[in-house]
Assembly symmetry: C2
Homo-oligomer: 346 residues x 2
């Protein structure tokens, strides 16, 4: 079997570490594994298949000999090294948003537009996490009738903000929980200062993720429309999205109303979703079966439930979906792109 | 000044206790205050304006001489005593959902349809909590152009499930927070068994509130449309709602897309919402100003922010609102109905 020299750029972050786990789980055919990070992580060791691999410095010369580089770093880092990676002859599968709207860069969810990987010019972008989970949930609907629009409200986990997000949540939960235990009074605010999030996240929700754009949507909210158009090959798709951070560790949830060209029945939608790769129909609310973060975390599958007819538009279906955004929303999807690229099952 | 004999049915619950606070804050002109509850609370004392008031038994004979009974009990209790209250000559301002769709019973948010209180036949219903907060947020929009539909996704606090809700949340937060502190590993699930909620609520979200109806929406979700129609005098109003419980103590939040007959600009909507009674325009996301539970709790005001044009419909406005559902969503609204009924400012 052919093997590949694989690098991870940003190997010590939440997504980088998860990529390593997924490469191992999926038995990716690796010859050399090169873990690259910023100076403060250089020399640290990370275990892969029982071997300690030393972190090397991410620098312009770091990519020689690599076939694939999985990018798990910030936009600025991705931009800094993109040309070096491409010149080294590697394909850069990048999780940052830096190149997602570049017309020469495929933006891929393998179960939706896998063949787009072959149109790359050295870079393939991995989409936004909430967008991946939402599109996975609705891709079956698009097969039944073309999707024209979506209204989406997200319930996004703290791990979407990186490895420090859940740590901040836990510190605040511990303080508030212990304060209640000692005083018997339910506290509203605590004293653990927010650093990752704009305000306290424990016991709170924050309706602002990303930065504000001219139309008063955030960058995060616009990804659902802009990336959805490119991935689904639906250039006219319209999406109204509200992104909200909630005090959850892992897995993003999304309440979505999906509008299609033709009206669809709940039964045909359920039957199609049940057949979809990477998706689990999880829809029996009378028996307490519905998607939620504590069920979906540490898995690659997007759970879909609460499927019902929209009450405004005859051509609408409303549902609730949930999936682990560090895995399918980031690391798993990137490794799946790599598998598709080298011609293996994903 | 005329004074009134006021009873509270279900005085020891979360809403009953808050009604007592609001009666005091609003200087409701009380002659006798009678606190009624189930046998297990009888004989306990609750402080009102420095006086200890003994809880009396809620029984068929308990209402003689009362002018107003504020109902803070479950549907079954409200139904059991309704005829007794009306026969005693009192007006029953009931927070349960038992009579909300009764055509003879006004369903009132005083700032929206206050004059409806005078059409009562002994009972006035207090609306659902999420519905009150949402309608308070959009009532200004309906003045600019008639609302035809809404898509709403809720982020509902644990106190909406009664006084035991936040206690369960706190116990789970304490366990998870301490587990992380001791182990350094972020926990997903804990061992504090859910009793109030169907599953663990700390670190989770539950897309199911109320029981399932024939159209696969829950009873809680259908209230937004059914109660919205009656309160707003919009019999054709269509609402697609998804109700989700989140690990928050107080204040429900709602992401809403509002569709109107005419297109509206963000500027005119903001200007109108800024003028609305009981509503605060809180909309400067670039400067971290947006509604959230830790800001709105223990207040009577509904905060509205993130106002922007819907991206699907030219006639749509999308926003995020947040308000304390134990206060404006229940206790405060009931006391305001009583104030309106006796001709006082609310």
């Amino acid at each position: 079997m052919k093997t590949y020299n694989v690098g991870i750029l940003g190997a010590t972050g939440a997504v980088g570490r998860e990529m390593l786990k997924v490469l191992e789980e999926r038995n990716f055919p690796i010859n050399e594994l090169r873990l690259l990070a910023s100076p403060r992580s250089v020399g640290k060791k990370i275990n892969y298949r029982g071997k300690e691999i030393e972190i090397k410095l991410a620098c312009h010369e770091a990519f020689a000999g690599l076939d694939i580089v999985l990018g798990a770093a910030a936009n600025a880092v991705a931009k800094e090294f993109k040309d070096d990676i491409v010149k080294a002859g590697a394909v850069f599968i990048d999780n940052s948003s830096a190149f997602r709207q570049d017309p020469d860069t495929p933006l891929v969810v393998p179960e939706i537009n896998g063949d787009d990987v072959f149109n790359h010019h050295g870079v393939i972008s991995n989409p936004n996490c909430s967008t991946i989970i939402t599109l996975m949930a609705v891709k079956g609907i698009n097969k039944l009738s073309k999707i024209t629009g979506m209204v989406a409200s997200t319930y996004q986990a703290t791990s979407g903000a990186g490895v420090e997000g859940p740590i901040e949540l836990m510190a605040q939960m511990e303080e508030l929980g212990n304060e209640y235990k000692e005083s018997g009074v339910i506290p509203n605010k605590g004293n653990v200062e927010p650093k990752v999030f704009q305000y306290q996240i424990a016991g709170n929700v924050l309706p602002m993720i990303g930065s504000l754009t001219d139309n008063l949507y955030t960058t995060e909210e616009m990804k659902m429309q802009n990336e959805g158009r490119k991935i689904m090959h639906l250039p006219e798709l319209k999406v109204t999205c509200t992104c909200v951070r909630v005090p959850v560790v892992r897995s993003h949830s999304i309440a979505v109303s999906v509008y299609t060209e033709k009206p669809l029945s709940v039964e045909e939608v359920k039957a199609q979703i049940a057949k979809e790769q990477g998706v689990k129909l999880y829809d029996d609310p009378a028996n307490k079966i519905y998607p939620m973060p504590i069920v979906t975390s540490d898995q690659d599958i997007t759970y879909v439930g609460r499927i019902r007819k929209d009450l405004i538009h005859e051509n609408g279906i409303t549902l609730f979906c949930c999936g682990d955004q560090v895995r399918k929303g980031a690391a798993t999807n990137a490794v799946q792109i790599a598998l598709k690229l080298v011609g293996l099952d994903f």
